[in-house]
């Protein structure tokens, strides 16, 4: 329910965010996982798992799963949605885009960010920025870890 009395909130909880929260993408477990990491936010206990399947240098499938607030769940869902089909380089650039956005820095270097723009309102709520970034920092951890873990 979008309300006129809470303009700040409407910016934080855009309808797209709420839709991703209600029906998150990327919940299908992968048969083969090339990159995997688990992230937690020790301040609030939010948890996220990210798994990537690579084919021909592109991200073929993304798995995300997590327990957390609408912002972290939606951010993970958008991640699963938009990273599919991207090269790892493109994916890193998108992750960088979100970090710059949250820090009010220039983010013009990235156009193809899909629903990620909907998270822009989060930057006005400093304590919630970590929620939005959790899936993305976990994604970056996964790339660094090169873990091969089977998720059944």
């Amino acid at each position: 329910m979008q309300t006129k009395t809470m303009p700040q909130l409407n910016e934080l909880y855009r309808e797209i965010i709420l839709e991703h929260y209600r029906k998150p993408c990327g919940r299908e477990p992968l048969d083969k996982v090339d990159y995997h990491a688990e992230g937690t936010n020790p301040l609030c206990g939010d948890e996220v798992k990210i798994g990537l399947q690579i084919k021909n240098n592109k991200i073929e499938k993304v798995y995300t799963e997590g327990h957390g607030c609408s912002i972290s769940i939606a951010s993970g869902s958008i991640l699963a949605d938009i990273l599919r089909g991207k090269t790892l380089e493109e994916a890193k650039k998108i992750s960088e885009y979100l970090k710059c956005t949250m820090q009010w820095k220039n983010n013009n270097f990235c156009d193809d960010v899909g629903d990620l723009r909907a998270l822009e309102g989060v930057k006005k709520f400093p304590v919630r920025i970590k929620c939005a970034l959790l899936p993305w920092t976990t994604f970056e951890e996964a790339l660094m870890g090169h873990d091969r873990i089977e998720i059944s």
Partner: protein
Amino acid sequence: MFDVEKIRKDFPILERKIWDDKPLVYLDNAATTQKPKAVIESLVNYYENYNANIHRGVHKLAEEATSVYELVRDKVKNLVSCKDNSEVIFTRNTTESINLLAHSLGESLNEGDEILLTEMEHHSNIIPWYLLRNRKKINIRFVPITDQYELDYEKLEKLVTKKTKIISVTHKSNVLGVINDIGRISTGTSGCRPLLIVDAAQSVPHMKINFADLGCDFLVFSSHKMCGPTGVGVLVGKKESLEKIPPFLGGGEMVRKVTFDNFTSNDVPWKFEAGTPNIADVIAFGTAIEYLEKIGLENIHKYEIELTKYALEKLSGFNFLKIYNSRGVGIITFSNPVVHPHDIATIVDQEGVAVRAGHHCAQPLMSRLGVLATTRASFYFYNTKKEIDIFIDALQKAFDYFEVGACKELKQERVDLVSVQKKDK
């Protein structure tokens, strides 16, 4: 009882507006409480008029600062009814008091000894014991809670054996609000004579405590949760117990004599107060104690029971809430399957309402309750029923916002943490 509106005028912060026009509704008192003007003035008065280091100086300022600082020990003694002011030790906070005990009591523990904690402990009453376990080969056991969110006293008594050297238990849970029956624990376990430590961070600020009646050996609490400044904790211990254990931190003040070979410790309480203490904040803490005693801790307790009852009644209107409170006072923690506590806290904050969202530094308890995070509202004597109404309206907005009821399909799958926790034991 007392005039809440008059009391509220003592707290400058309660005048402030949040987001330009919303009055502050501060319901995060279990985290820290607000400070009355008298306490703030007491800090300023010390720095403006008699700032000096204590105990060592011969000059007038040092003498004044020392006597006011030491007088606060008397105030604490009277507050908790211990025998002597030498039984009162100032630390930085409750956490440091427990670390002191874990360190100093831990010295005499042997391999195979056991420490008994409960499932409702704050991290500050878990981690110091884990650290000790890493140094000594001891075992830690947790007393379970019942499905009514109360301590399982029968299981507790069964868990106590000759091996149990220490029981460290919270007096009042910072999540469940339940007040544990310390007398029952001390009499029920007296056969095996373990030392009993009581974490009273959530109880001393809200009710009249009598150290001797509780029957414990050590009592710990913090100034900042009872209208005093941050940076001051208290450890109250029986003199004979304090004399037996070694010091925690070394440095100035805690020694009697130092040579090129060794040192001899000072008497209690100074043996445990190494270095320049937090003089200003201890002094202002004394003012906070005076302030609370003027209002009356019995009055505060009664009023909080009334506020809690009122809030629980109002909350029962949201039938989709799980409320983790059956007999708790002053603290109400709840969860629901749709709106995450963080989202609730953000939305009610827009209405000026400050509540806590998260695990409340009690992750093991959260896993026992089968949740990762909850929302907590906690009251103090300056809160009003009107403020609870504002909180309830703000909550309603949060649930409307997320269309609770309309999005029943949202079911967060999660590992059954309750059963995982049980398997660990």
